[in-house]
């Protein structure tokens, strides 16, 4: 057991699978000798060699095409897309190709690919680095989309993602990379890919959130507890599929729900959660489903992130509205 950051937890997970499964391969831009632009693959090339951990030319479609081809010839690829904003270059490789390979072959082939990619605001990155693009990917049949909100889940989920025999988009939050540390077991453990987790028990209102917004939600829960308002916080962890059972169970207990996302409001994961609740658990509700999300503008220039990204204050205001 040691205190580890979100990045270190992911590195740990990658180290474990590289060690266990000689068919795993890590590749992408600067992931080799440089250890990744965020040091997530630090030391892995040195330990496992250039055959297992290697740099690629700078072309995202090529990187994911490479992953598909390697997957078809018996390898377990773990490609990295340096920033999620650059996945636009490779949308066909994900949506048009790898996500439908099993389907195309009538289940006779699987592509066990885990695409790692950082995203998320609050660190004043240049344009197209922080965009929350999960909305694009959660609508793709055949692709799992997951994102951990803490170092413990990050390690367990990256291992589960790599061991899964279908393509997984593993989203890593830039702001969480170094901002928190957890006690992480040194040995191998897994966290399931398609279950949400109640990270704070409560009885008055449910907040459903994911990634960095889980921490914002926990701040709200802590603050409101002082006023004897009991907030339950559900961390989705998986954005596709969504674990509706955990959400419905919470809503049946609290009868009120606020759904929180950093992404723009339109057609988002929050909308999917809200529609699942309205279709299946509406009779449990005492108030309309509330949503906290970013404005429907393009992701802000760095200086304006503080007024654009939904923060604890915005969540608190919504929670008070539904109460």
């Amino acid at each position: 057991m040691a205190k580890k950051s979100y990045i270190q937890a992911i590195t740990d997970g990658l180290d474990i699978v590289l060690n266990e499964d000689p068919k795993t391969l890590i590749f992408g831009e600067d992931v080799g000798k440089n250890g990744g632009v965020f040091r997530t693959t630090q030391g892995l090339q040195e330990k496992y060699g250039e055959d297992r951990v290697f740099d690629t030319p700078l072309a995202e479609s090529g990187v994911l095409g490479l992953a598909i081809g390697l997957g078809l010839t018996g390898w377990r690829p773990i490609p990295e897309i340096q920033f999620m904003g650059f996945t636009f270059e490779a949308v066909d490789s994900v949506a048009g190709q790898m996500a439908r390979t099993r389907f195309r072959f009538g289940a006779e082939k699987n592509l066990p690919i885990t695409i790692r990619t950082p995203f998320g605001g609050g660190t004043h990155t240049a344009e197209m680095h922080a965009d929350n693009l999960e909305n694009f990917f959660t609508g793709i049949p055949g692709l799992r989309v997951v994102t951990p909100s803490n170092p413990y889940d990050a390690k367990g989920m990256v291992i589960s993602a790599i061991e899964n025999n279908d393509p997984v988009l593993f989203m890593e939050n830039l702001k969480l990379y170094r901002s928190m540390k957890d006690d992480i077991p040194d040995e191998k453990y897994t966290v399931p890919l398609d279950t949400a987790k109640v990270v704070q028990e409560g009885t008055d209102v449910t907040i459903v959130a994911y990634s960095a917004e889980v921490n914002e939600s926990l701040k709200v829960a802590e603050k409101l507890a002082k006023e004897n308002i009991s907030v339950e916080v559900v961390d989705l962890r998986s954005l596709s599929p969504i674990d509706t059972d955990t959400i419905f169970a919470s809503v049946e207990k609290t009868h009120k729900v606020v759904v929180v996302q950093e992404a723009q409001k339109m057609a988002g994961v929050g909308a999917q959660v809200a529609s699942e609740i309205s279709e299946n658990a509406i009779m449990s509700l005492d108030a309309p489903i509330a949503r906290v999300a970013a404005p429907n503008s393009v992701y802000p220039f760095a200086q304006a992130e503080n007024v654009w990204i939904p923060a604890a204050d915005d969540i608190e205001a919504k929670v008070r509205e539904v109460l």
Binding site: L64, G65, F105
Partner: protein, 368 residues
């Protein structure tokens, strides 16, 4: 008065010379005369007859497929008449353990590589069983260029496996304008992966002539940008196509990295069965010179003169082929329709909770 400044670069000269080093390889010319006796000596009589039979087979497949398509018995189909030398010549150079990544017009190569005609027909109709062939291949790729980046990955995988095999893929002249085509060749080059990229230049991408795709004098020279060797070949000469593909395969499998081949060929008919009409964008005058160098006529003339082939032999072989295609479509007719519950099961190895619920819903519906 300013004096005339001295220039560092002669761009006009550079431009005039671009791609001039590429000249199509040819063994048998359009008059069915051998232009390279040394290369011709590589072929036995049996092999020559085998190439003839493959050309006849592909033309018969094309004609029968067009018939079935007109009768509504097939779905999507991209005609192949005119491209038999390019397709049969190149595909014959590859071995069963080589990995084929075809484009949508490359169904005949997929069949030669191990898929059945029944499976090809099921693919055309849109049935999952059309993709469950034994061939080491992907199904025909609809997204132009995607097969090229995937080829780089398959080739690297074969190399890492230590296999004595290559990845080979096809695209058309239009496909060379795609980013993925460049990325695929460049990745394969950077990794020195055993890939053979075949560009079938039939002069048109639907209605857009080759000249509108690029200012490049040849498509072969595009490989220069990836640092990989390339070659142009007379795509109406089955022997040249085979010889070049065979040498490309040998080069790649020996660890020398990828190769690109441009075959100069022609699409005799429409782009696809989906209502394309070439008379909207091509004239008879443009088409005729290509019809005159039909790869079928060239080989027929050559082999007839050598007394290795006869019209009777050809007629009876066409009949045999057509009968086998009729059997194939009957077999396709007998295949059970797909069920939604199966499609859901095919989406993930371990169904997600929402998919599990939908499987149960559809199974209930399907059992009624």
């Amino acid at each position: 008065m300013a004096k005339e400044s001295k220039k560092a670069v002669d761009f006009e000269k550079i431009k005039a010379n671009l791609g001039q080093e590429f000249k199509p390889v040819q063994i048998l010319n359009s008059d069915a005369k051998v232009v390279d006796e040394d290369l011709m000596a590589n072929f036995s009589d049996d092999q020559l007859v085998d190439f003839m039979k493959k050309i006849v087979w592909e033309r018969a497949l094309h004609e029968q497929t067009m018939n079935f398509s007109r009768q509504g018995r097939l779905g999507f189909y991209a005609p192949t008449a005119g491209e038999e030398a390019s397709e049969m010549g190149t595909v014959s150079a590859f071995k069963d353990n080589d990995f084929l990544l075809p484009a949508y017009r490359d169904v005949p190569q997929l069949i030669q590589h191990g898929a059945t005609v029944t499976e090809a027909y099921l693919w055309s109709r849109g049935h999952v069983k059309g993709n469950q062939f034994k061939a080491r291949a992907l199904m025909p790729q609809i997204i132009i260029g995607a097969q090229m980046v995937e080829t780089a990955g398959v080739a690297l995988g074969l190399k890492k496996n230590g296999e004595d095999a290559v990845a080979f893929s096809y695209t058309g002249d239009g496909g060379t304008s795609q980013g993925d085509t460049y990325e695929g060749m460049n990745f394969a080059g950077a990794f020195q992966a055993p890939a053979v990229f075949i560009i079938q230049n039939n002069g048109f991408a639907i209605s857009v002539p080759r000249k509108k795709q690029t200012a490049a004098a040849t498509l072969a020279q595009k490989a220069v940008a990836a640092g990989i060797p390339s070659v142009q070949v007379d795509g109406m000469d089955v022997l040249a196509c085979y010889q070049v593909a065979k040498e490309a395969r040998e080069f790649a499998v020996a660890g020398n990295g990828p190769v690109m081949i441009e075959t100069l060929t022609y699409r005799f008919g429409a782009h696809s069965s989906a209502g394309d009409d070439p008379s909207r964008y091509r004239t008879k005058e443009e088409e005729q010179p290509w019809f005159d160098i039909d790869p079928l006529i060239r080989m027929r003339k050559f082999l007839t003169e050598k007394k290795l082939w006869s019209q009777e032999q050809e007629d009876s072989y066409v009949e045999e082929c057509k009968n086998s295609f009729k059997d194939a479509i009957k077999e396709a007719d007998g295949v059970e329709p797909e069920k939604v519950s199966d499609m859901l099961k095919h989406t993930f190895e371990v169904p997600t909770p929402d998919i599990k619920k939908q499987i149960a819903e559809f199974e209930a519906k399907e059992s009624k």
